[in-house]
Amino acid sequence: MFIYQTQDEIIDDFIAGFSDCTLSLPEQKAFMEVMDCNPAINKHARAGKFISRLFKQLPIYRARDGFEEKMAASFALELKKDSRVAETTA
């Protein structure tokens, strides 16, 4: 029986491809046959697909209003520091 080693690069490539839905149709068909024969690969591949789909439902966190202004203020201080250093080294 085929045994899946967790460091098998080819299998990892296929599992990643299956999870990300980037396998071609023939690749997918062939890989699903491998999955049917090996429960460990099957588990990894199905978990991969399920989890990567679930991640797409996570909320997206964005910078809050006013972030750019705060950033600009910090950057202005940074520039001031820079010019002070330039003055002292001149």
Binding site: T6, A16, A47, G48, I51, Q57, M71, E78
Partner: protein
């Protein structure tokens, strides 16, 4: 000094904008902030879990980008270089936070009231939307419990949607190892949230 206007700068690729910043066009910094503030916020929030700390980290990332602008070389994508800086900051902060949590959550064995309370969850979720919401909530929780090596690659891949090549560069890890870690991380996550997932979902 270049005479590029903000409108001109906006047309440039990230790497060209960075080149402008390197040559002293400070307005280029604002363009980089505009382009990356949300992406970095979404990335770093997975480490801070609150907006205030996250904003501080995002600000610090941008300031470090500015301070080390001359060490950036065009052979790398600007995004990859920025994520490397952000990830290093996040890891440092995360380690500090973990140390604090370990101390504050330590149970006092001499205090009979200081113990974990188990609340049995017997509610069967029928509603699909609620079920999905629970899964997502559990996923966020499970993500926090992953070990650092797994967390960073899974966040970069499944949340930030970066390519395996970019993740390999950012984490300075062989691509084969990145793929293997991502696959194993997904299995661990699925095992952790397993109780909330209906069998027919698989």
């Amino acid at each position: 000094m270049s005479t590029l206007t903000i409108a001109n700068l906006q047309q440039l690729s990230d790497e060209d904008v960075m080149e402008q910043l390197q040559s002293g066009v400070v307005q280029a910094f604002d363009i980089i902030v505009k382009r990356y503030k949300d992406r970095l916020h979404n990335f770093l929030f997975r480490y801070t879990h609150n907006h205030e700390d996250c904003e501080d980290l995002v600000q610090e990332t941008f300031l470090r980008v500015y301070r080390s602008r001359h060490s950036y070389e065009r052979i790398a994508k600007l995004s990859t270089w920025m994520y490397t800086i952000a990830l290093n900051l996040a890891k440092t902060m995360y380690k500090k936070k973990q140390r604090m949590t370990t101390i504050s959550m330590h149970a006092d064995e001499s205090d009979p009231d200081d113990r974990e309370i188990m609340i049995p969850d017997t509610v069967v979720l029928q509603d699909e939307k609620l079920h999905q919401k629970m899964c997502v909530g559990e996923l966020e929780k499970a993500l926090k419990e992953l070990n650092e090596e797994f967390r960073e690659v899974i966040i970069l891949r499944d949340i930030q949607q970066l390519t395996y090549e970019e993740i390999s560069e950012i984490t300075d890890t062989a691509m084969g190892t990145v793929k293997s870690r991502i696959n194993r991380a997904r299995v661990q996550l699925q095992e952790k949230i397993g109780n909330y997932v209906k069998s027919e979902t698989f």
